[in-house]
């Protein structure tokens, strides 16, 4: 059995996000890092693989920095990695899904896991779009996953707080993995060393021969209207507490 995990290099929160002269986002400011949501997917894949003797392939389409994310996946315990360098269509869920689906067709995984969304653009579409292209069944927001011997995947899907739905699907399937269902491991030194010897395959877009036409285009980028910042209370702890209580009692009348 093979489990593939989709990993995305995302624009890190610390990156300076600003518009350039043309009204586009200044990409030279982008610093890429791992999409934290994906770590839960990698961890879940490794756990499932340990229980079922499967192989785990981590896959990424995107900027060169994605290789670092894939290396982390390998250090955590993935078997091998596939990287497709691509930057032009970043941000279009359908185009990303097209490339990922073409890549996965070569791997023929039984199960595909992905984070629930990406931290930078967050369309939360890609997992399901990939499933549709491959003809796999998709379930999003998985907070519990058990694989039966009968090829039935029992998925606990999160609804609003405290509520869950239990869904059975047959493999092959795509799941998007919600945070909190496991605790992603830190790669051990041994894992990091072993990762250096593991195979990381580069596939060029031209080899995949896919159509990366955008289905959604951004016609304008702008700064959100500035929000009025909170009235900041300053001073010693006792002073700010005193001021706060007075404000909440006398001005806001909520105490």
């Amino acid at each position: 059995m093979r489990i593939a995990v989709l990993m995305k290099a995302v624009v890190e929160p610390e990156s300076r996000i600003e518009l350039d002269e043309t009204g586009g986002v200044r990409r030279t400011n982008f610093r890429y890092g791992l999409n934290e949501y994906d770590l839960y997917a990698v961890e879940e894949a490794i756990r499932l693989a340990e229980a079922s003797d499967a192989e785990v392939t981590v896959v990424s389409v995107g900027p060169e920095e994605a290789v670092q994310s894939l290396r982390k996946g390998l250090a955590m315990g993935a078997t091998d990695a596939v990287f497709v360098p691509a930057e032009d269509f970043l941000g279009d869920a359908a185009a990303s899904a097209e490339v990922l689906a073409a890549t996965l067709r070569r791997l023929q995984p039984d199960l595909v896991l992905a984070g629930v969304e990406s931290d930078d653009l967050g369309t939360s579409q890609v997992g399901v779009l990939v499933a549709e292209r491959l003809g796999y069944t998709a379930v999003t927001m998985a907070i519990g996953v058990t694989l039966g011997d009968d090829g039935v995947l029992r998925v606990r899907r999160e609804l609003e707080a405290g509520n869950f739905v239990d869904i059975d699907v047959r493999l092959p399937a795509v799941l998007t993995i919600q945070t909190g269902l496991n605790e992603p491991r830190y790669p051990s030194l041994k894992g990091i060393m072993a990762a250096k010897r593991k195979e990381l395959v580069r596939l060029e877009l031209s080899e995949l021969g896919v159509d990366t036409e955008r289905l959604v285009e951004t016609v304008e980028l702008s700064y959100p209207p500035p929000r009025e910042r909170a009235h900041m209370l300053e001073g010693s702890a006792d002073a700010v507490v005193g001021e706060l209580v007075t404000l909440l009692r006398e001005k806001e009348k909520v105490l």
Binding site: L129, A138, M141, R156, L159, D166, V169, V216, R227, M232
Partner: protein
């Protein structure tokens, strides 16, 4: 108003998700008739919950629609949308319809999907606005595909449509679902987690976030909530740690609350949390990081480690209450 926008209604156990009514408001922003689309085994009881708000109702009925499944809903909606070509199709961004259904509809209709819109307008097609790069920019997007324009709406971004006063015309259609093509088997719902006091009813909420740091500190927060007679709530990291039950989670995968006073302690203000509490009357935030986005939503802010503030605040409240 000849344009029609289909608003797919989210419902469970016979109850319409009240946030679905926000979709009708979004449709009217597009200068379109808001058509509620209800998929169910028998939609009669659900129709009553939306008919006063929508301009028209399409009720798609089949035993195969008794539970939500992406295959069932898509089978009901896609052929009808292909035939009738509504100007747009909208769902909420969460739970089932935005995440599990909308991308399936996009694939099977062969159209683009604009996710998690906070605003929209019609200008030669649907223009959807969404926040990107952690809310640092607003992207105005349109699909490049002909046919129905597909978008999901962020919960709370549109104010739920008032009742229009008249009862909408209802069209009932036999959806004729092929049950064999449905790949999800819904085994059941677990809504058993009982939480003392529903946080959505609370007048005052004390909410703990990642900045709480330890279960020990959480006890300080709990003591403050007790002194205030407030409900205790949390952002996702605290719940993921297992320190508080999921029923107390505020945010996009938790509950939406609107108390008179919301105290956010050690909460950075990620959008996933903010969407669940931004409509509170008065918001007070305590956070170590002066740049934390929570201060953009708070009325009063204190930059401090919450352990320095919570103790004195609890004491002050106790003194006040005698």
């Amino acid at each position: 108003m000849s344009r029609e926008v289909w608003c797919i209604v989210e419902h469970r156990a016979g109850r319409v998700d009240p946030d679905s009514l926000q979709l009708f408001a979004a449709a009217r922003k597009l200068d379109a008739a808001a058509v509620a689309v209800v998929c169910a085994a028998d939609g009669a009881a659900l129709i009553d919950q939306v008919a006063g708000h929508a301009d028209r109702v399409i009720s798609l009925n089949d035993p195969g629609l008794a539970e939500f499944t992406p295959d069932g809903y898509a089978q009901a909606i896609v052929p009808l949308a292909q035939e009738r070509q509504p100007a747009a199709i909208l769902t909420l961004h969460s739970h089932f319809l935005g995440r599990d259904l909308a991308p399936v509809l996009a694939s099977r209709l062969g159209v683009g999907l604009i996710s998690d819109c906070i605003d929209m307008e019609w200008s030669d097609g649907l223009l959807g606005r969404r926040l990107v790069y952690r809310r640092k920019l607003v992207a105005t997007q349109r699909t490049t595909t002909p046919g129905p324009q597909l978008a999901t709406c962020q919960r709370g971004a549109f104010v739920a449509a008032e009742t229009v006063g008249t009862t909408a015309e209802v069209e009932t259609i036999d959806a004729a679902i092929d049950a064999a093509s449905i790949r999800w088997t819904v085994r059941g719902f677990d809504e058993a987690e009982v939480v003392a006091g529903d946080i959505t009813e609370a007048e005052v909420i004390v909410a703990a976030g990642r900045g709480v740091g330890s279960e020990e500190n959480l006890e300080l927060v709990r003591a403050l909530a007790k002194a205030l007679g407030a409900a205790l709530a949390a952002s996702r990291p605290i719940v993921d740690q297992g320190w508080l039950p999921r029923g107390l989670q505020v945010g996009s995968s938790g509950k939406t609350v609107r108390p008179r006073l919301y105290l956010a302690l050690g909460i950075s203000g990620a959008i996933q949390h903010v969407v669940g509490m931004r409509d509170s009357d008065v918001i007070v935030a305590v956070n170590k990081d002066a740049r934390a986005p929570i201060f953009e939503y708070a009325d009063y802010g204190i930059v401090a480690d919450l352990t320095e503030i919570v103790g004195p605040l609890t004491a002050a409240i106790k003194a006040l209450r005698g």
